[in-house]
Symmetry: C2
Subunit: 501 residues, 2 copies
């Protein structure tokens, strides 16, 4: 068994090496690659991914996993090896269910769809993408059908990102959340709007980057095992537990953009950096779900980075970095500016309170498209109605409505959006749990100290990687299931105080 | 046959994709990778190289090449497809001759040897590397013996870098060259030394990089298909014909270092950028030999970049970039400084005239080690004697003597050094040929114009990639075989004038 386990690890390591190489090619494409490199680069990444997929579905791997099953059952279920065999088997069984011809067809279709969407969005022309999106819905249903026995047709698609979560559970949770959020947004937007003009001056890019880097360094992002580069869209990528990088986009006329996205990506990156090094090179060395991953980015970005205590420490430093722009702006004005709530059209620019309404809308529409309850041709109109109902405004066009996010036009319909809001909910639940054990954390944050908070996250969440599913992890960490109460309480308290509700 | 040819190209493309990915991982390791990434990176590169090697020696590839042989013979021998099949077959036959177990053994040995050398050189302790180097000689002989029928045991090793060149030919050419160089060095060093103190002031790194980049951009290095980054050792790397990058090392107390190495690497890079795009992704899309490759780096670095005409145009700009350092240094003083000849210990720092004596020494000692005429334990002493005889000084220690270059301690003994001097010889031969067709080139260089020279190189050398062997290419371009006369004449004229000989 020792030999077979070693053999399994070697095969998984080879797959991991190919995937990590593909990730580096993608990082380079987004950071430093000269334009002339593009045509070959697309092909090179596809080759590495194809080889990784071939090896992930190799029957010899399935045989090894079968042979190792009795051994896995003889081990303590929480042991690294038992978890490795369990998760590798889950990945293998998922990968072999989808025929390679379908994978190729789907990938070809999404490439074509993405190209059409890139042209259609600036032209504000939904009719161009409509036939592609219809086919995407159809293919997404076919993909789900390779995993029979589901309760809801979205469940297998949700599983890809948030294993074990079900449409019915999420739908119920999101409905509860919506009931709380819609009146909160209403109450806030009945008040005079916050003034965020202080963020819209000119802030040199290099200074913004330097400040952000200094903040995340204090958070505990390890720069000997990571780095920050500029890219058109911010992202986090991991080549090993010793090399987890973030990218940032800087807008010189918007101080918040780079700053909060740097903290956001650092949250993702600290999760990956915090995985137990013994798991490196295995399928366990990743975040356990998109929701738990997002809980970390949102925790560091919002619960920490948009808190008053945090800025009590950092705002004088920010003023020193940008004296001309900020010396006459007091802390309270700045704090209100970075927490301004408004009815807006674009999800990625939305504030903490309205953000989830954008996500909930998409999640519900995804389910209805998959259920056949909503036709693609009716989607723009239904989007507008729901937007009006939830956010009190309606998009004037499709460009900033149904066409705004790339997700449905370059991936599946289903499973794409729930992680964002699950992450927000979990960020408050995990933060609460950390504070329960360490009530000194808020005071430490006011001193620019993050060791206790970071240490708790590493100990309770990061180091486990994918050893536990999201549900298992939530249960271990909070003693109960996913729960919106801490998150709703956090929003009500913070924004109640800010907007004198 | 169409189908089989397509199949061949697809198999070769997959190998190329893996090798290009490995090259990017290596580029990243040398430029941006944080230190924590090192352990996994070594393994990831090894995995990609192993997979590329497996696919390069796949019997199915051999079968395809066999099947295509009659078709290849029916094509015009200069056609892209005939050349592709011919070169792919040559590569395949070479790759399958060496058993995988030997490849693994050799690679393990060179890794260990490299680690020992890294410690032994600063400690000036040849005895540490001696047993490793003895084994390297032994393994190099074994490697050569996988290619029986050679005239000299170094020939198969030379073939890896300079296909078709023979030890006997090179030895005779190098002996002729040495006969010319030793008295030339003697005559020059009898004169008062040039004053190069103007190069040894402080020159800010960013300004050095900006100036160098501007120069190579004028040469014709295409920055939409390449880029320059800093690295501990300068190198050129290619991921496709659309993405050929260089790296530069900057020393703030030495103006020549970054400047000439930037031009050097740009010469390599323009060669790779100039390959016919139709050959991209095939084994033909590379320089044809290490000698021809080096002819391009040395041509742009020395025949162009260290010429008086070049600096008539660029020196005023350099003075503008570094006014404090250079405004009182006249062109003639600067020109003498960058062409200072001296008896020195380190090959990579040597001037144009003495440089080849460093190479010739290594080449001759390589052959004698392989022939069994020289024992490794006697190498340091023999090195010193030969150095004294050729360069008129003796290294005071092994650190700056036999231990100075990494080549023998991380590769084969044999085939490692001849390319440097073949490149110097060819640089003058090719430059002569270009001037024969375009006598206006020197006048253009004085105007900072390089289109004619670059265009001639692209048309006659670059675009062919590996379609022709080095010997075929030299014959096509110059109408004759490799010939030292133009190079010796170039050195005698240039340095005769400089040193009033």
């Amino acid at each position: 068994m020792e030999t077979k386990l070693k053999e399994l690890k070697m095969q998984l390591l080879e797959i991991d090496d190919l995937e990590s190489a593909a990730a580096l090619l993608s990082w380079d494409q987004n950071t430093y690659m000269p334009p002339g490199g593009a045509p070959a680069r697309g092909r090179q990444m596809a080759t590495l991914q194809r080889l990784a997929h071939e090896k992930s579905t190799d029957p010899a791997l399935g045989k090894l996993l079968d042979d190792l099953q009795p051994y896995a059952e003889s081990l303590p279920p929480d042991s690294n090896d038992a978890c490795l065999i369990r998760v590798a088997r889950r990945d293998y069984e998922r990968a072999v269910r989808v025929p390679p011809s379908f994978v190729a067809q789907f990938s070809e279709h999404t490439s074509a769809s993405f190209q059409v969407w890139k042209a259609a969005r600036p032209e504000n022309d939904f009719s161009q993408v409509q036939p592609y999106l219809e086919k995407t819905v159809d293919l997404s249903r076919q993909l789900a059908d390779f995993f029979p026995g589901y309760e809801h047709i979205a469940d297998p698609l949700i599983d890809f990102a948030d294993y074990g979560m079900k449409a019915s559970t999420i739908r119920a949770i999101f409905a509860d959340l919506r009931e709380q959020l819609v009146p909160l947004v209403q109450a806030i937007t009945d008040q005079p709007p916050a003034d965020d003009s202080c963020l819209r001056q000119t802030f040199p890019a290099a200074d913004q980057l330097a400040f952000g880097l200094q903040v995340i360094h204090r958070f505990g992002y390890d720069l000997t095992r990571g780095r920050q580069d500029q890219a058109p869209h911010p992202f986090t990528t991991e080549f090993s537990v010793g090399d987890v990088r973030i990218t940032t986009r800087v807008r010189e006329n918007n101080l918040g953009d780079a700053l909060f996205s740097t903290m956001h990506e650092a949250g993702h990156a600290m999760y990956e950096q915090g995985v137990n090094p013994e798991l490196d090179g295995t399928p366990l060395a990743q975040g356990t779900s998109s929701g738990v991953h997002e809980s970390q980015s949102r925790l560091w970005e919002n619960l920490v980075g948009r808190s008053r205590g945090f800025w009590r420490f950092f705002y004088p430093q920010l003023q020193d970095q940008f004296p001309d722009q900020l010396k006459h702006v007091d802390l309270d004005t700045f704090y209100r500016a970075i927490n301004k709530v408004e009815r807006s059209l674009i999800r990625t620019d939305a504030d903490e309170v309205t953000y989830n309404l954008h996500v909930l809308l998409r999640f519900d529409l995804e389910l209805r498209l998959l259920e056949g309850q909503l036709a693609v041709r009716d989607l723009p109109e239904v989007w507008r109605e729901r937007f009006q109902a939830d956010l009190g405004i309606a998009p004037p066009d499709d460009q900033d409505g149904v066409l705004q996010d790339v997700h449905w036009y370059a991936g599946t319909v289903g499973g794409m959006f729930q992680g964002y809001t699950l992450g927000n909910i979990l960020s408050a639940q995990f933060f609460d749990a950390a504070l329960h054990t360490h009530p000194e954390i808020p005071a430490e944050i006011e001193q620019g100290q993050f060791d206790t908070l970071h240490g708790w996250m590493r100990e309770n969440i990061y180091r486990h990687g994918r050893k536990y599913t999201a549900s298992e992890l939530i249960e271990r960490v909070t003693g109960g299931p996913l729960d919106i109460e801490p998150y709703v309480r956090y929003l009500q308290e913070k924004y109640g105080e800010l907007y004198h509700l």
